[in-house]
């Protein structure tokens, strides 16, 4: 293992990402230590999702470096990053709508061969997400948005990730459902999974996160603990809907 308490699990150095001729991420630095829950907040189009997709390996980078667990993983394809412990719950959940709920969950364990451990992990996911268990044989496309988000998170957990990337888990969901999902996120964090959370709902994200990064038009403009950012007048004005 390359990790030790002082070196970050994930480190982005001067990361640049372009697509369609537009530079969406313009050289950002970000660090994430083992066991942390960190959020990345910012307005629509700031480059948060782009950054997350690049870490997950589904988007190529144009410059800079991604270090994970001591290795430079710039060109490692997505399916190999999962094997190393990086799981991304993509924006819009990315549920396989034509597969059943159980098949969706089992896709999360695709790279694993430890049958017994998979079954016990499935049971753990069921206890964490009781609503999901009732729907196992159902085709996943018939689930509500909240249930799909639960399945997407449960599916990611079945890969036993070290680093969980969550892209707007609250998107399009009712407040009560969002609360449930954040409870789950917190449980997962308490179990020691390192989480990078992208959210537009800055208030909620900063409340849960230990640290936060604020992103604006492809750059990181502010960073600090969740509390400090929540108290920052600029953040309050820009993202929490308060007058400066």
């Amino acid at each position: 293992m390359h990790t030790n308490p002082v070196s970050p699990l994930l480190q982005l150095q001067n990361l640049q990402i372009s697509y369609g001729g537009i530079q969406a991420v313009k050289g950002i630095n970000l660090e994430l230590y083992s066991g942390e829950l960190v959020c990345l907040i910012g307005a629509n189009g700031a480059g948060k999702t782009t950054t997350l997709n690049a870490i997950g390996g589904v988007l190529p980078i144009a410059g800079g470096d991604i270090h994970y667990a001591g290795d430079r993983i710039n060109t490692v394809p997505a399916h190999k990053r999962l094997r190393r412990g990086i799981a991304l719950v993509p924006e819009g959940r990315g549920i396989f709508t034509r597969l059943t709920v159980e098949e969706n969950l089992r896709m999360g364990a695709y790279t694993r061969n430890d049958k017994n451990a998979i079954e016990s992990d499935l049971e753990r996911v069921y206890t964490m997400l009781p609503r999901v268990k009732e729907r196992l044989p159902q085709v996943a496309g018939t689930l509500s948005g909240g249930e799909q988000q639960m399945v997407a998170i449960g599916r990611a957990l079945l890969s036993r990730p070290k680093l969980l990337l969550l892209d707007e888990p609250s998107m399009g969901l009712a407040p009560l459902v969002v609360e449930k999902i954040f409870e789950v996120v917190q449980t997962v964090a308490k179990e020691g999974v390192t989480i990078l959370l992208v959210e537009q709902n800055a208030n909620l994200a900063l409340e849960f996160a230990q640290r936060g990064y604020v992103m604006e038009s492809g750059k990181i403009t502010l960073t600090g603990t969740g509390e400090a950012l929540l108290a920052d007048p600029k953040v309050r004005a820009a993202y929490l809907g308060e007058a400066a």
Partner: protein, 342 residues
């Protein structure tokens, strides 16, 4: 081909309803029934072969949105490689049992076609994965020409007599209805393969990965699926089925030729569209339906057109169906989603 019973009797009773029952008419009734069953059997045989080929089209379409027009030529390669193997074995070990010989030939054909499918995807289609959709389509047609030309160079332009290693002597399960052991083998062999494929796709881990990849490449890769490998696997399985279909097709008609893949390929494509392209069950159903319709069409086209067209015009039916499906139900019999792809 199986003998076809043609019964023509003057319908005397229609002219005079009071006349005594005409026994020739009763015999005609029986003849009609037998002809019907015969056409149904013929249709099932050719339909099974269409279904096997259609599965290859539909699997590749489901996962890539690509119509692999070279798929029919994979069938031709399968038939000719098997022929070559059988010829070789007959020379090397003349005493070998025909069944063993056929099995070896089939196995060689399957392996060669699987390699061909793999190579095709790797060299021709993979690099066009993100190209405008017309590019891979035109490439597929190019690959088709390439395969036919290579086959022509290797096996020449002549029609080859196909060895009948399974008996083609017709059996008569019902009086007046004929079926050959080859045809029985085709029906049961393709049914077994189709069941096997359904189990593979619906009950195994790789099958689940195939379905996941078909729905969303990106998310599948996020699950740790090597989507390139899954796509290659899909081509390989489709090509293996085509190899078997090629040997069946050539054995049934007793003939093989470098251009033999074109027509069954086109018809199997029609079958895949008829069933709902991208849908495995649809390809099977479409293949069988197409085979049966074509068989009945061939049997009755002469009566339908008052002798103007004969059974050599049977190909009309497949493409008539294609036209009708595209006009009235573009999603096919079992297709659920409206696709704008291909």
């Amino acid at each position: 081909m199986t003998p076809r019973t043609v019964v023509r009797v003057m319908p005397a009773r229609l002219m005079d309803p009071t006349a005594a029952p005409d026994w020739r008419l009763v015999r005609l009734g029986k003849g009609i029934m037998e002809t019907l069953i015969q056409q149904l059997i013929n249709g099932l045989v050719i339909g099974s072969v269409y279904a096997l080929i259609a599965l290859g089209y539909t699997m590749v379409y489901g996962i890539l949105g690509l119509i692999n027009f070279a798929h029919g030529d994979v069938l031709m390669v399968g038939a000719l490689v098997a022929l070559q193997t059988m010829t070789f074995l007959m020379g090397m070990a003349p005493g070998m049992s025909p069944l063993v010989m056929l099995s070896i030939a089939l196995l060689v054909a399957i392996v060669v076609c699987m390699l061909l499918g793999f190579t095709m995807e790797r060299l021709a289609y993979r690099r066009l994965r993100n190209a405008p959709r017309l590019a891979p389509l035109i490439t597929a047609i190019g690959v088709s020409f390439l395969l036919q030309t290579i086959a022509m160079i290797i096996w020449g332009r002549n029609y080859h007599t196909y060895p009948q290693l399974i008996s083609t002597t017709p059996l008569q399960p019902i009086e007046g209805v004929f079926i050959t052991p080859v045809q029985i083998t085709i029906i049961f062999g393709s049914a077994a393969l189709m069941i096997g494929l359904l189990l593979l796709v619906n009950r195994t881990k790789i099958g689940r990965a195939m379905r996941a990849t078909a729905e969303n490449h990106r998310v599948a890769s996020l699950m740790g699926v090597d989507t390139n490998a899954v796509i290659a696997f899909t081509f390989v399985i489709g090509a293996g089925l085509a190899a078997v279909a090629g040997v069946m097709f050539a054995s049934n008609y007793g003939i093989a030729h470098y251009g033999m893949g074109f027509m069954p390929g086109l018809k199997a494509f029609t079958a895949a569209v008829l069933g709902g392209i991208g849908n495995l069950g649809g390809a099977m159903l479409g293949g069988i339906v197409l085979g049966v319709v074509e068989s009945f069409g061939a049997g009755y086209i002469e009566n339908l057109t008052f002798g103007f067209l004969n059974s050599s015009y049977q190909d009309i039916f497949a493409f008539l169906i294609l036209g009708l499906v595209l006009i009235f139900r573009p999603t096919g019999l079992l297709g659920e989603r409206v696709s704008d792809r291909a």
